[in-house]
């Protein structure tokens, strides 16, 4: 599986570009794109700061415009400290965003995350061409994070999500999660049994009670085996001698 591309637009300090590359290296990200850097490209300060991540700097692709940099990108996240609720976009915290990215990568989409210039952050014109806004939760009074700090947090969440996915895959080999069909089959059988025993006090109250009851079971993220057991339990409990 590939990983998200990091795009820096109009970055100012070479040191910050290097620090972003280091953060990427710490957390298994490798593809960096740079749009119109203030001090030109290549940038020796970026390379010096990158240290062990110099290869990310050396392989970074340079673009003149954001449009060119994202030409092959299927889904673009804009990082912004302001949550810009007035813009009609999906909003994600980093943890939700990486979960969504993993799903999108499984669908073979090309994903990128855009970071704005240090001083100003992304301007509205840049955010407008993004699909979603990624905002790092901070004290609202002190929300200014530099691009390297933001990249560290995104990278950290990305790395943890990869570790969780690997652990989940290992666990799944033993225990398959229940399919939608198995769950719905159980719910149908349960609903029928509860209807027959007049569990729902009234037709008016039933929808809410039944929705809450299903939510309880859904929250447990049942495995196939567990749904099987619950169905067996239902059969046993409703058996008439």
């Amino acid at each position: 599986m590939t990983s998200p591309t990091i795009i820096l637009i109009r970055p100012q300090m070479g040191e910050n570009i290097g620090a972003v590359a280091r953060a990427m290296k710490n957390f298994g990200l490798s593809e960096l794109r740079i749009v119109a850097p203030r001090d030109g490209w290549p940038n020796e300060k970026a390379r010096d700061m990158a240290v062990m991540a110099a290869d990310i700097i050396d392989n970074a692709k340079l673009f003149e415009t954001l449009a060119e940099a994202v030409a092959d990108v299927n889904y673009l996240y804009a990082t912004s400290a302001r949550s810009e609720r007035n813009m009609r976009k999906s909003h994600f915290a980093p943890r939700e965003a990486v979960a969504t990215m993993n799903q999108q990568l499984l669908e073979n989409k090309k994903i990128a995350v855009l970071f704005g210039p240090e001083r100003t952050g992304l301007i509205n014109e840049d955010v407008a061409i993004c699909d979603a806004i990624l905002t790092i939760p901070t004290d609202p009074v002190h929300s200014s994070l530099n691009i390297a700090q933001s990249a560290v947090i995104l990278g950290y969440e990305w790395w943890i999500a990869q570790e969780h996915m690997k652990a989940a895959q290992a666990a799944n080999e033993e225990e398959q999660p229940a399919t939608r069909e198995e769950l719905l089959g159980y719910f149908d059988a349960l609903e029928e049994a509860l209807d027959q025993t007049y569990f729902f006090k009234s037709e008016a109250k039933k929808p809410r009670t039944w929705r809450n009851l299903r939510a309880t079971f859904l929250r447990a993220a049942l495995s196939s085996q567990e749904v099987h057991t619950l169905r067996g339990m239902l059969v046993a409990l409703t058996k008439r001698d």
Copy 2:
């Protein structure tokens, strides 16, 4: 509630001390202690880098030795890229650590997190006096994070944990988690009903099946209301006309 204290031992660059203060300010941490800084104290570079977090630098307490800096600390976390498994200590990732810290703070313990010098990290002698080791998960081949990056990640997890706790408290006012007594009451009633209907194929298989079934319900972290509903469901299903 208070928050964990950040302790920097033998920090080298003033800029890094300032960057740690900024990270603290972003994420609602305020108490900084400095042990034997290389370039003396106060440090103008630290204050310049801190910007909006200059008050954290101004209020930072200076100590000559780590022993003095932690004299009033009940539980001390050492941050280390190496997980030092040979040392007999508790090991935490940041997310687990902040959950533990919240618990410790509720018990009125004074908590601190220790960060080592930039070049070397903590030496074994420092780690030895800590209670637990906090390691940020990274690509094992590229695990070097500077102190400001580490502080950003710790602060970020701290902030999210506070937000989650506030949300959980708000939710709890509506929906109380089930008590142990309610849960065990439900399990007793369910076990009796399942015994009566010969759900457990054999006495030999029962312990394992029953343990797994209880685990399924426990995982859902049921509320009082949900346990009440499940008991009502059990009564309805086992009703004999």
